[in-house]
Amino acid sequence: MSLTFDIFLLLYLIAAALVVARAKDLLAASIVFSSYGLALCLLWQYRGAPDVAMTEAAVGAGITTVLFLVAIGRTTRREK
Amino acid sequence: MIGVGDIRFATIVVLAAAGAAFFLLGTVGLLRLPDFFSRVHAATKCDTVGAGLLLTALIVLNGAEPSTAKIIVLAGLVLLSSPTTGHALARAAHRTGLVPWHAEEE
């Protein structure tokens, strides 16, 4: 059961990373990257690393997304 | 004989199943509904009621433990933050001039 959950999260991480890399819409890429951070946070917590999970939740899923959104707001939403 | 434990177990199952059902319906709504406002409406139900019911199930499952207080605080936070998020999203969309979807008239 635990292995299934691990594999599901890891597959999700790979898929999200591919979407982020391929997306032309930077806003969508930021949101998917935020969900990537959330999945990674779950995986850290599940693997017994709560310290890293807290950092990932605060920085990866939270603040990075805000900074990306501010940057997109100041520049352009579409990748050339 | 139905004991207290059975009733508790049944409560947990019902609450968790209802929470999961709300998540399922919310996800279906997010994918199928026609415009931004209705999708936000569906997605907010997911977070508020779905997560709220699941956390309530966890409260019953955990029993009278110190850690249950943390789950109660967590449930309160979800009940507070998730509708606010939905409201902020819908308001921002309305402010930027997004027109709600209407069914085509004859």
């Binding site: 950092t55 939270g62 501010v70 | 933050s81 409201h87 902020a88 308001r91």
Partner: protein, 249 residues
């Protein structure tokens, strides 16, 4: 033609990497070097040697204190670079608008003048803010016992500052970071590491050395907590400054 070359180069680069992975010990193998050397020492003696019940903090700040010091220096340098780029961009924008003869409108004007922040969001953020601050302080100060610490608590503080700035406006939150204090807060992590390192050098003769003697236990705990607070202030200041600078320009 370039694509096949790129693909074959990628595969060629993968071969030594995979060979390297094949040479690693099996994951979770108890006889792997990582489990027989430092980890065993950390787990067996970490609590009394490093003075932190949370082994992660003990390793991060005590055993590997120099690495953490280097880490915060890197983050601080990155902040300087980002601020330098953003400040140049914003002064150039300001110059350009001055040359046009246009009056530069304030941020509040430029954003929807007659559309203030939703009262609901305003209320909820103000309601949650003190609890978030309390949680951040708990994570920072309790970091040597439970999961968490300076980096995590600093990130929570920075996030709280960003949320407050978005809701209350820069005019209300900017005074929290006084111009006199701002540079000290941005450098807080690096400066704290230097100060604690100097104290350690005085006590043990080694830079960032921690006294092991049980009678100096309180000193060691204070050093750890000072490091946590310094890292937290520095981290929060880094995140808040990047956000403020991006919003300003």
């Amino acid at each position: 033609m370039r694509r096949p070359i790129a693909i074959s180069l990628a595969f060629l680069a993968a071969v030594p990497l995979l060979a390297g992975v094949a040479g690693l010990p099996v994951h979770g193998d108890p006889s792997a070097p990582v489990h027989t050397h430092v980890s065993a020492r950390y787990i067996e003696h970490g609590v009394e040697e490093a003075g932190a019940s949370n082994l992660v903090t003990g390793v991060l700040l005590n055993y590997r204190g120099l690495d953490a010091a280097g880490e915060v220096t890197v983050i601080f340098t990155a902040l300087i670079a980002v601020l330098a780029v953003l400040t140049v961009a914003s002064t150039r924008d300001a110059d350009a608008s001055n040359h046009d003869g246009r009056v530069r409108r304030s941020d509040a004007d430029r954003r929807h003048p007659d559309h203030p922040v939703s009262p609901i969001v305003h209320f909820v953020v103000r309601l949650i803010a003190p609890f978030t601050a309390l949680y951040a302080a708990y994570v920072i100060l309790h970091g040597h016992v439970t999961p968490g610490g300076g980096f995590q608590g600093g990130a929570i503080l920075g996030g709280l500052f960003i949320a407050l700035t978005m809701v209350l406006g820069k005019e209300r939150t900017r005074p929290l970071v006084r111009p006199v204090l701002a540079p000290w807060m941005q450098g807080a992590a690096v400066l704290t590491f230097a100060a604690v390192g100097a104290v350690g050098a005085l006590l043990t003769g080694v830079y960032l050395g921690f006294p092991v003697d049980p009678s100096l236990r309180i000193v060691r705990d204070l050093m750890l907590i000072a490091l946590e607070v310094g890292i937290a202030l520095g981290g929060a200041a880094v995140l808040a400054m990047i956000f403020l600078q991006m919003e300003a320009s």
